[in-house]
Every structure is written in C-alpha cells, then in structure tokens.
C-alpha cells in the first residue's frame, strides 16, 4: 500500500506542475485584461498620443502594426505558398531539396534580433530605405516565411494522392492538376497558416526595433518609406524608456491589452479554422 501512496503523491505533483502552467497563463491574461480594460475606449484606440505617449491614444501604433503585418504577409504569403507547392508537388529527393529544407529549418531558428540586424544591414543601410515600413515588412516577412511554408506544406500533403493521379491519368499537365485539383482543397489550410504568421508578425518587437519602429511619431504614415510606431515597440517604450513609466501604467496596460487581443484573435482563429478544416476534409 505504501507504493500506492507514493504513486498517488507523484501523480498529484505531475498534475500540479501541469496546471501551474495553466494558472500562470491565466494569470498573465487576466492581469492584463483587468488592468487594461478601463483604457479600452474609442479615445484610446482611435486617438493620437500626446506628451510622448503619456496621454491620448495609440492609433498610430495600431495603424503602424497593421501596415507592417500587411506588408509582411504580402511578401511572405506568395513566397511561402510557392515554396510549399514546389516542395510537395515537384521536388525530388536530392541535394537541392535537402538544401531548401535545411534553409527553412535554419530560418525558423534564427533569433529575432538577428533578423533585425540583418534587416537593418540589408534594407535600411544597403538598399538605403532607411528605417521604414518597407524595411520592417520585409524583415518580418523573412521571419514568418518558415511558418507559412510549413503549414502550407501540411495543407498540400493533406490532399490525397489519388486526386493528383486521377487528374494526371486524364492527361492533365502537372500544373493543371495542381491548380484545378489540389490547390482548391489546400487553400483553406494554407491561409490558416498565414493567419498564424500574422499573429507572430504582429507581436514581434526585436526585428522592427532596428528597421522601422519610431519611438514617438504622433501621425499616420504617408508612404511605405515612412517610419511608423508599432504596438509591441510602443509597449516596450512606455514600460521601460518613458521618463515617468510609473505614471503611465494605464497606458501601458491598455497597449498591452490591445496587442494581446490582436495577436490572440489571430491565433485562436487559426487554431479554430485548422480543426474545422481537418474535420471538413476527412478523405
């Protein structure tokens, strides 16, 4: 019986450890929601910041993030989708394919600040874009490229081989087969992957730190060569760089909440859609 008791104790320790994670996550979200909610009004969301962000709203940061993320998706989505199509539909085993896969894995592991360094070196300095939306978007797009490739590949692989064979056997060319008989069933999954990418791009700070983000710029950008504020960087600035960081607590929490909401909405949508499509296309 002794053995049973000690087993039981271990069970409970494991259970407690697992639920501790849940508790911490819940605590973080709860803390930010409770303290940020009072700020969540039109003046805050649609307003411009004043007095270096101590007052007013965060519209430029929201808009900046939207621009950056849209730009990143615009670049990464086609690149990622085409890469995935090549890898699943065309690639044969061999050195070239192995190199591509190695590169994707490497890219997925590159620290975000290194993306920042690289983006700065390439886009800001070498191409002379300066700190700008275009530099930031490209940098972010490289960062989310592996996410998009991997989930697009998954979506393509989920389409049964028999559909490809059926089409080829009718004398369709390979591209006709892909275009008419594979992509239509893989697209939902591919877009789901891109939503995950959006969530990641929206929340990243380090890559935009060196390529685009403005400390305080209370107006909307007029071209892709403008600097912009961005939500994650704005939160960082308010929390650590602001001269009266303690006094702007509500602003910090408000910003954190908006950022968290945007990112979580994208992520949860992606998760929901993924399970929905998995059920819908059970071949």
């Amino acid at each position: 019986m002794n053995k049973n008791i000690s087993e039981n104790i271990i069970y409970w320790l494991i259970r407690i450890a697992a639920y501790l994670i849940v508790f911490v996550v819940g605590y973080i979200v709860f803390d930010i929601v409770i303290k940020g909610l009072p700020k969540l009004n039109m003046d805050f969301i649609m307003g411009f910041p004043r007095r270096s962000g101590s007052e007013g709203g965060i519209l430029p940061a929201i808009v900046g993030t939207i621009y950056l993320v849209s730009g990143a998706i615009l670049v990464a989505l086609p690149l990622g989708m085409f890469s995935a199509i090549y890898l699943t539909e065309y690639a044969r085993q061999g050195r070239f394919t192995r190199m591509i896969r190695l590169a994707i894995v490497t890219l997925a592991g590159v620290p975000s600040i290194v993306f920042g360094l690289f983006g700065m070196g390439l886009f800001v300095i070498f191409f002379g874009f300066g700190a700008s939306i275009i530099a930031g978007s490209f940098t972010l797009s490289f960062m989310i490229l592996p996410t998009i490739i991997v989930s697009s590949e998954e979506a393509l692989q989920a389409v049964p081989q028999s559909l490809r064979e059926g089409s080829l056997a009718l004398g369709a060319t390979q591209w006709q087969t892909i275009y008419k008989n594979v992509l239509p069933y893989a697209l939902p999954g591919m877009f789901t992957g891109s939503i995950l990418g959006i969530g990641r791009a929206a929340g990243e700070t380090a890559p935009i730190l060196l390529t685009v983000a403005a400390f305080y710029l209370p107006r909307l950008p007029s071209s892709i060569f403008d600097q912009v504020m961005a939500l994650p960087y704005h939160l960082y600035v308010l929390a650590t760089q602001h001269p009266e960081a303690d006094k702007v607590l509500p602003m910090q929490y408000g910003t954190a909440l908006v950022l968290l909401l945007i990112v979580l909405i994208f992520n949860l949508t992606a998760i929901f859609l993924r399970s929905y499509f998995r059920k819908k296309y059970k071949w």
């Binding site: 259970r15 190199m99 620290p111 975000s112 360094l117 591209w175 960082y236």
Partner: protein
Amino acid sequence: MKDNLKEIIIKKMLVAAASTSIFIVLLIFLFLGKEALPFITEPGLSELFDSRWIPVSFQKEIFGIIPLITGSVLVTAIAAVFLIPFGVIGAIYISEIATFFEKELLKPFIEILAGIPSVVIGFFGLMILNSMVKDIFDLNTGLTALTGGILLALMAIPTVISISEDAITSVPWSYKEASLALGASKLQTIWRVTVPAALPGIIAAIMLGMGRVIGETMVVLMVTGNAAKISWNPFDSVRTMTATIAAEMGEVAFGSIHYHALFCVGIVLMLVTFGLNMIAQKVLKKYQMR
C-alpha cells in the same frame, strides 16, 4: 507545345520561390560577416575575448563579449532548470495522464501561451514577477537573471511540450501494453518504457526550446537589469547577447568599432542557435527513421 512552355515557366518560378529560403540564409550569414569583419583588423579579434564590455567610455572602449556570453549562459541555464521539468512533465501529463476533457482544456492554454508576444511577457515580468522576486529573496531589485530565466522558460514551454508530446504519443501502444501486462503500474510504465522510448524526441524538443531561449530578446532586455558583468549568481543583474544588440544598436554610429562589435555578437548568436538547431534536427531525423 504552348502548354509545355507554360509548365516549364511555372516550374522555374516555383523553384525560384523555393530557393529564396536558401538565398535569405546565405544573405544573413553574408551580411553579418561583412559587417563584423572590420573588427578583425581594427581593433583585432583578440579584443573580443576581453572580460569587459564597455562600449562607451572617455578613456578606452572595450568590446569583450565574454560577459555577454556568460550573461546569456546564466539566463539560459536558469531557464533550463524550469523549462525541462515543466516542459517534459507537461507533455507527459497531456499525452499520457490527462482525460480527454482535460486535454481539450489544457491544449488551448498552451496555444495561447505560444501566442503571447514576448514583449507582453516581458511587461508582465516587469510589473508582477519583478516585485515578487525582489520581495521573496529580499533583494534591492527584482531585475535579475533569475527573473529573466523564469520568463524565458515560460516562453519556451509550448515548444517543448508540443514536440515532446508528438514524440510521446508516437511510442507504439504495444510497448506500453507489454509493460502493463507485466504488472507494471501506469506510472512505472511511463517512467521505464514510454519516456525512454520517446527520449530522442524529448531531447530534440528541449534543444529547440533552448534555441528559442538563447535567441529571445525583449524579455531579457526588459527584466534582467542589463549589467554587463561576469557573474554566476542568479540574483545578479546580467546582460545577454540579444539584449546588448537591441539596446545599443539603435544609438551606435554606423561603421564605428562598436557597430562592428555588435555584429560580432550577432554572429556568435547566429552560430549558437544554428548549431543547436542542426543537432536537434539530426536527433529528430534519426528518431523518425525507426
């Protein structure tokens, strides 16, 4: 024949798209190398191994990256202390012990955690964990390596859990059945059969998680206090390689020694994460071969 030409063009385009990943990786190495290289001639590579990092000084700037490396190592080691047990136990619980209902409850939390931006985690650390660490350990400041390590562990937990969980669930049911049939308890089976069988996958998961920890920037920038000194004390302030780049690159003069030094730090960072990643992939591949 018109069709044929179209097919060939499309394929070429797809090849080009797929090659961009290779191209980007090469460009990253190239640019880091190009911007770091001048440091070798002026002031010389040996300067990097100094034990002090004093980028702004009236006498002599010193760019020894040793304190930055030890800072990263200390924070990473602390993170590992939390990450490994919680990550592995979490994965075991979700895949082997939790009921269906519990799984449906636990998984979304892990996915939410994976989605929380690092700056928000850092913000939480600054607001809550900071004062908790300060009070519990009776310190002058809560901005310590310990605070950073805990938060980093939290950030990397989803990576470790999801990959370990895959490894654990793919252990054939027949192994477990055999053990249970021999009269082993469920816990013994998990410990003696399931976990050892899944070990390569779990190790790879931990390595990938550690890769994330080393590369993470915002959290450490916000909560470790950023003192560039060699220390192995978890209650000290430290400064990591990532935080150094993030904090200093914005103010540095283009082309200065400081600028090149920061790119040297970037290369070290890149090589370390690249190495970890490669080893993890090797382990995973071996494992999937079986």
